[in-house]
Subunit: 265 residues, 2 copies
């Protein structure tokens, strides 16, 4: 691997990195941006996604040798000065480590579930539209060994730059898939022997009393609305008991508690 020096921010070889923030909003046609050392490491080592190139500040290259050895020999590594990096990205990039990854063809729910073993923990997200929460939930899912994340069509993209960063790369590690028909999806999980728990402030059972199952699905909804009533009516519901005077918990914090409880020790 021979790093390639880039001096012109408009060099076509780094076009995918131009105006990172604005392009986040506009989408980037099958690509995503990985930021930082830990995330780059996961991108190169998990093997789930291909990488197109790496863009590094010249003074960060030395600390990256071990990680860059995991990259295919022909993966271009561009090095730039801080001024060129900022001119490319469109704002001050103090981390100085970026990579472009290629999204895969979205996986279908069925094959993803078929690939799971007899002992499986899956996270089901409905209406999680905030990238911070999405990233945090992926991070917690990875920390507690969840095998997959399944999302309804109203969830935001876990491969959005900020979601990947907040997930500390977990979004590049845990398989995920989207579904459109929620009630059909619930039936699919039931057929495959999943016990299905919905987390809700009005859940019937305190989560401390909910028995982990060999195959378990945990449903999480948005902070404001929560999971739709139609779904709650069809699933076992669990609650996290909170203080009477302040029953407010962020969905990411709730996911940490619930996943810790349901994780296989």
């Amino acid at each position: 691997m021979d790093p390639i020096r880039i001096d012109d921010p408009r060099d076509s070889r780094v076009a995918a990195y131009l105006d990172i923030r604005e392009r986040d909003l506009a989408g980037r046609q099958g690509r995503f941006v990985a930021e930082g050392k830990v995330v780059l490491d996961l991108l190169l080592s998990s093997g789930r996604f291909g990488a197109e190139s790496i863009l590094v500040l010249e003074n960060r290259l030395d600390g990256l040798e071990d990680i860059l050895h995991k990259a295919p020999a022909d993966l271009p590594v561009y090095i730039v000065t801080s001024a060129v990096m900022d001119a490319i990205a469109g704002f001050h990039m103090h981390r100085g480590i970026l990579a472009i990854g290629r999204k895969e063809t979205p996986q279908a729910v069925g094959p993803l579930l078929d690939a799971l073993s007899g002992q499986a923990l899956v996270v089901v997200l409905v209406g999680i539209a905030n990238h911070d929460n999405m990233g945090s939930i992926f991070r917690n899912a990875a920390a507690f060994g969840a095998d997959a994340v399944l999302m309804d069509a109203t969830c935001c993209d876990p491969l959005y730059r900020k979601a990947i960063r907040v997930s500390v790369g977990a979004a590049l590690k845990i398989p995920f898939a989207s579904f459109t028909d929620t009630s059909g999806f619930t039936a699919t999980l039931a057929e495959r022997g999943f016990e299905q728990f919905a987390l809700s402030p009005r859940g019937n059972t305190d989560i401390r009393d909910a028995r982990p199952a060999q195959r378990l699905a945990l449903y999480l909804g948005t902070e404001g609305e929560g999971l739709p009533e139609s779904l709650l009516a069809r699933l076992q519901t669990v609650r996290i008991t909170m203080s009477k005077g302040f029953d407010s918990l962020n969905v990411a914090a709730a996911s940490a508690i619930a996943l810790h409880h349901f994780s296989h020790r």
Copy 2:
């Protein structure tokens, strides 16, 4: 309460709201900024901090009647158009509800602990310098009925605007105090009969096996460094068991799991 219309962003009556972001960094001499409906409600109803004034978008006033009734009759409520609000704040304030609160004289640790009952849960923070994490920890502390938050001198200010917002007002509700001498502080808690647990990835006991005590102190450290070894050596240490391939948990998520475990059911 008669709302006072402000048309000039430079009106001295709203000077405390000028350039909110920049002033956050510079400090604001004994004042803090409360944002949003829920936080305003807590400011006015918890009674822990005095309010100096309220600044509201004219079209948000109708939805605030119930909350504004909790304010002292002589508290000024300023109403402005969206353009004036943005000109005052220095950026687009889409929430449209702000208030200035007065910090109290910092409470000392001793009197704060003396005021606690026989059953008490306190959170001890060492080196939490990120306002997001600080706010999230306060939110979790409130959700699980913690009675106080005690911080070493390297922690950031829980009354920073963003910390209050992320805490959903919990920073205005839970008593807190700072200490400088950590080992003296540990002795103070021991004298008062607190069992003291330090959360650490290398903790001796899985937190699921740690028995909640009547009086309990939970120590949390920074994400990177964790709690100092000198402290870990003197306390019972507990860990949150994570996946071998991904043992990464945000300190706020860890606080949620630990506080949920130690909260009195």
